[in-house]
Point group: C3
Chain length 174, copies 3
């Protein structure tokens, strides 16, 4: 079967100094994004996206085969907002803690109109009440950023996870 | 119950370029701090703190409720030194290896007198002799740094861990 | 028994601004290195090394005791190329995914002829088909880089793992 090249290795097309500057900016973005999610402020999550966005959570196998399906698919910030409200109303008290570790952030391309393609590795840890901490999911963010009023926002985030077995609960954003 | 706002999400109040510069400085500090601990040089650990410091290890649940208790609490570098000596004399040979992974470092505020508030995510891995590597603890550092002779030192480190079940052994610094 | 000082804590001898600049360059190198390995492009792996290189994977206990043995030892890029071809031909389809998380990168020294000593922590996650994600190996890279045509290449990479029990399968590069 053919492999979708978007999800295999892509060399950075950027000049090293520019790649580093963008990487630092993206790291700051992701660190704030994760701090919001790990504080369980899911209703604050859609503000990291532009109105006309795509958000998907899918398995690496599906992504590499170019399959459109996924665990979660949302088009437009409105769908993210609906989802966020639904999640936050379903569970008043979080029965678990999450912690995102982000590493290996790479800025890959920057278009003339300022759109940036990037990726980063994530490890999503989960701690159930009275429990040990375990690996909930690990994988890569495949992102496209745009700049609005000087700040980065997500135009597209594809959360591609390696972990095949996902606990079958209500899926929080990653 | 009321939640202590110090341990929930806090946006950075810093201008982006300043936040990035401080983050890089804090990352270098934490990387050296962790390298010392992971080399089992616990007696070298107090040198990362000012004399008038606070060090605490506590559960996220306790921190968020504003409870003063914790697994470990030390005021002043003298207490850290006593603790370090006690630990290093108790076990001549380390029965385990530790490895700290630090990510998601965020500089949040800087006061006029140079005190810096910051946080970072940590994953503390543990490997018992002849064993596999497992997650010992994961959580966040909530830090206040001051600058002495141009270099950062910890005025306060609150190690807030998600992991509820901690192996009931002699607690090493984190 | 005597401990080999190369594998215990080493303070950085670099001026802070230089250490930070080199760290960022090394992080970019390692992020690309890991992206290639995690995309299963093992035949592309030797290009990160100079012709006259050393690559070793060994247990922390062995490294600290100064023992020359290890799980994998290769001298010269030719040996890496042979190894890469052997691995890629043995398994046409990868039965697992890997994901490297790199953190705590430290630039330690830089010689007059531009050789750089550095270290970084790695966490190598593994996901078997239809399985959960688990910790395959964790430890430190102990590296020597040289600069060729302005770009970093590895003169030496010692992969020193804490994890004592390694799954007894064909060993991929780390």
């Amino acid at each position: 079967m053919k492999t979708d090249p978007s999800y295999t290795f892509r060399p950075s097309e950027l000049e090293p100094a520019r790649a580093t500057a963008l990487r630092h900016e993206i790291e700051a973005f992701n660190d704030e994004y994760c701090a919001v999610l790990d504080a369980n402020l899911v209703e604050d999550w859609p503000r990291f996206f532009v109105a006309d966005c795509v958000y998907r959570i899918t398995a690496r196998e599906n992504a590499e085969l170019g399959l459109p399906v996924g665990l979660v698919y949302a088009e437009g910030r409105g769908m993210l907002e609906d989802r966020a409200v639904a999640i936050s109303r379903t569970q008043m008290f979080a029965p678990r803690y999450t912690l995102h570790m982000i590493s290996n952030t790479r800025a890959l391309r920057e278009s003339a109109d300022g759109e940036i393609a990037a990726e980063a590795n994530f490890l999503l840890l989960q701690t159930l009440v009275e429990g040990a901490t375990s690996i909930h999911m690990a994988g890569k963010f495949h992102d496209r950023f745009v700049r609005v009023d000087g700040r980065l926002l997500l135009k597209e985030r594809q959360v591609v996870y390696d972990t095949t077995l996902i606990a079958n609960d209500l899926v929080y954003p990653v």
